[in-house]
């Protein structure tokens, strides 16, 4: 279960973009949907298509992302989607407050009146919720596969973070594969001593306590490693003066265009919602007709 960054240089438009542009564009999309609370499919679906297009343009191979998509599928459909379809929660109150045709009723505990009504509104909301989450997540999902891990520190520094915070970010990305390897080695070593990760017995408390033989060695070893890194950095006078960074970042014309596009999306969503009252949740007639036949 070794974790390594699946980054690979590819000659794509996405990878030619400055990393700052990608962070700013991602922030614009997230803020455009969350600050004015956009739930209108006329905004969500075009933005989803835009995110999907950018994701496809990154040309990340399926074999690299297979495991990640497994997690995403479980999260989106079994946790978020099912929760939204059953409860109608996780969104604006209009999902459950406005009258909507009932498709069917699930009786959980009929004597106590515990019944769940699946309405057209809840179903449409679940679809919107999944689309909305994917729209915000897609630009972030491709980051580890398409952004050089060596450039995170520089990117954050150039975005205004201090040297220390940027270096923390940079070091964290560098340490990640090392500790993942340490965890793998520890799991293997404990297995050789008869420790079976897959067959932890006992209740929840006992199971958590039995994770200690994995968590403790890796954590303690990391504290020792830390002292060595601190010594090395102190010897190089880290933190005594302003740092220079090896990698240089420069905006190109395409970066300005992408940032402008992102800001325009954010402003358009805010203006439409607050200026014209467009962007809230509603169930379109075509969906109701389609579901009810």
């Amino acid at each position: 279960m070794l974790v390594t960054w699946k980054y690979r240089p590819r000659n794509t438009f996405i990878q030619r973009l400055d990393p700052r542009t990608r962070f700013i564009f991602m922030a614009c999309v997230i803020l455009a949907l969350t600050i004015p609370e956009i739930w209108d499919y006329r905004f969500l679906f075009p933005l989803f298509l835009l995110s999907l297009t950018l994701f496809l343009m990154a040309r990340v191979e399926w074999k690299d992302m297979r495991r990640a998509w497994f997690y995403i599928f479980i999260l989106l459909f079994f946790i978020v989607g099912l929760n939204a379809a059953l409860s109608g929660r996780g969104g604006p109150s209009s999902v459950t407050n406005l009258p909507s045709p009932v498709l069917f009723t699930i009786s959980l505990w009929a004597d106590r009146g515990w019944v769940v009504q699946i309405t057209v509104s809840k179903l449409w909301f679940a679809l919107n919720q999944i689309t909305r989450m994917l729209t915000m997540a897609l630009p972030a999902i491709m980051l580890p596969y398409t952004l050089d891990p060596n450039i995170y520190g520089t990117a954050f520094k150039r975005m205004g973070a201090s040297d220390k915070v940027s270096f923390t970010m940079d070091l964290a990305f560098r340490f990640l594969p090392t500790f993942a390897r340490d965890l793998t080695i520890t799991v293997d070593a404990q297995r050789a001593r008869g420790y079976e990760v897959e067959k932890l017995k006992g209740g929840l408390f006992e199971k958590i306590r039995k994770l200690a033989p994995l968590v403790i060695p890796v954590t303690m070893q990391s504290t020792v490693t830390g002292e060595e890194v601190i010594d090395a950095m102190d010897l190089r006078a880290f933190g005594t003066n302003q740092r220079t960074w090896l990698k240089e970042l420069h905006y190109a014309r395409r970066d300005y265009l992408m940032i402008g596009f992102g800001v325009a999306i954010f402003l358009a969503c805010c203006i439409m919602k607050w200026g014209f009252g467009i962007g809230g949740f509603f169930v379109p007639d075509f969906f109701t007709k389609f579901i009810l036949g």
Binding site: V3, T34, I230
Partner: protein
């Protein structure tokens, strides 16, 4: 044993912030597949004990950086994307847990362990409450969903893990620190 000032931010904090973040990211990634029952998109994370430990051992800045960056790394590795409010909530969790640092004299003394667990629980409460309540704006959830669907399971899950694993981590650290002599 611990004579650093609480709000110092030097090389030590930079390095341990990064180490804490990487560890939190790796352990979170390894356990992100186990969602908490009845929780929206909240996962069961034994890694939280490591985050609280780093806060208690190295201070609030380390806790903040380890929680914020570590949550981001764990989510990115799992392919979940970036949820700034949960990352900030995790950062707050580590930061508040780190306020206990100056009060810890002996990592294997029962009163100091109790103090660390207490601050850890306070951090979990504040951090998870922040993340859950901001879901009202980010995810558009209503107040009761934020509280019952997100905060309660996240708090209970993280608290259980912290109560069990943090004392073990602290006692192990006391041994390592004594051998290292600093």
């Amino acid at each position: 044993m611990n004579n650093n000032s609480t709000w110092e931010f030097g090389t030590r904090q930079v390095v341990y912030g990064a180490i804490g973040a990487a560890l939190y990211g790796v352990f979170s990634w390894a356990t992100n597949i186990f969602p908490l029952p009845a929780a929206g998109n909240v996962a069961f994370r034994p890694a939280v004990a490591v985050l609280v430990f780093f806060g208690a051992a190295y201070g609030p800045w380390v806790g903040l950086l380890a929680g914020f960056i570590g949550n981001m790394l764990g989510d990115m590795l799992s392919g979940w994307g970036f949820y700034w409010n949960w990352s900030l909530g995790n950062g707050l969790m580590g930061m508040i847990a780190g306020l206990v640092m100056a009060a810890i004299k002996d990592f294997k003394a029962r009163p100091d362990i109790t103090k660390a667990v207490g601050y850890g629980l306070a951090g979990i409460a504040v951090g998870m409450l922040f993340a859950s309540l901001t879901e009202m704006f980010v995810g558009g959830v209503d107040f009761s969903t934020a509280l019952v669907g997100y905060f309660v399971p996240a708090f209970i899950g993280n608290a259980v893990v912290t109560i069990i694993l943090l004392p073990i981590l602290m006692i192990a650290f006391a041994g390592v620190a004594a051998r290292r002599g600093r």
